[in-house]
């Protein structure tokens, strides 16, 4: 139950970051990059696909541990962590490209709010990947099937939450942001 309270509060956290992004949308300094000029929809679509697939791997891991199949659980949880790391790789690539094209958190309000929002999301994904890998390691020592796989269920809820936050960011910041910007 506390996990749901935590996720509810996380909604508020990302809500404020998104509100800040939207409030300052279109108020960048003249001559600095805008969302329409710099955001790369094809690349981000691929990273979105990667994150969606990681959520599928996560539910398959949870389904495996619920049925007591630790071997399959290890495979799926490792796939989830791998896809999560791939998503982070895409984000690092994107941030580096933006920096080369002249957009940093200091450039304009778009840069500040964009990097804060997506950066915090990336930090959440990083925490998730560490959590997933620690559970993978723990599966060799402890019993993950006790309490109906509660430990796995908690990381699964967290991981899917990170996924739905990205669903919102991809739509609002990227698709709508580029359409308007």
């Amino acid at each position: 139950m506390l996990m749901w309270v935590f996720l509810g509060s996380e909604c508020m956290f990302f809500g404020t970051l998104l509100a800040t992004y939207l409030i300052y949308y279109g108020q960048g300094l003249p001559g600095t990059p805008t969302p329409g000029e710099i955001l790369d929809i094809p690349t981000t679509s691929v990273s979105t696909f990667v994150l969606l697939m990681s959520s599928l791997m996560m539910v398959l891991a949870y389904s495996s541990i619920s049925r007591g199949n630790v071997k399959n659980f290890r495979i799926w949880i490792l796939c989830t962590a791998l896809l999560g790391s791939t998503f982070l790789g895409f984000q690092i690539f994107e941030f580096t490209e933006f920096a080369h094209e002249g957009l940093t958190p200091k450039t304009n309000l778009f840069g500040t709010t964009f990097f804060t929002l997506t950066g915090f999301h990336g930090a959440h994904v990083t925490v998730g990947v560490i959590w997933l890998l620690s559970l993978f390691g723990y599966s060799f020592k402890g019993d993950l099937t006790k309490d109906g796989g509660l430990n796995v269920d908690l990381v699964a809820l967290y991981w899917h939450f990170v996924d739905i936050v990205w669903i919102v960011i991809f739509t609002v910041v990227y698709l709508i942001g580029v359409t308007n910007g």
């Binding site: 309270v5 996720l7 508020m12 509100a19 939207l22 679509s45 539910v59 619920s66 739905i164």
Partner: protein, 99 residues
């Protein structure tokens, strides 16, 4: 009520259902990206994006986060936070003249 994320585990979907949901999520994302490049839809793109995004969001929350099968209190906790965040975004945008 137990101190766990859910209490009705037997009602959870099968792996095949999870794969079907993933396929729907990928198809919706492909549609989003596809219509993004259709110039004729420019005027109606934003509402379409919101609807498609809401469908994806709901599918993940209902099935992958299994709220559809859990105690109502968990739904209220999460939906409460989500609605509060939505109202916060709208209120701040109105306050700062962005809406």
């Amino acid at each position: 009520m137990e101190n766990s994320p859910h209490t009705r585990e037997s009602a959870h979907p099968t792996p095949l259902t999870y794969v079907k949901i993933a396929a729907i999520l990928v198809i919706i994302t492909a549609i989003e990206v596809g219509i993004f490049y259709v110039d004729a839809l420019t005027d109606v793109l934003i509402p379409i994006f919101f609807v498609l995004s809401a469908v994806k969001f709901t599918l993940v929350v209902m099935f992958y986060m299994h709220l559809k099968f859990d105690e109502r209190i968990f739904s209220w906790l999460f939906v409460g936070g989500f609605l509060l965040a939505t109202f916060l975004i709208i209120a701040l945008m109105i306050l700062f003249g962005s809406l």
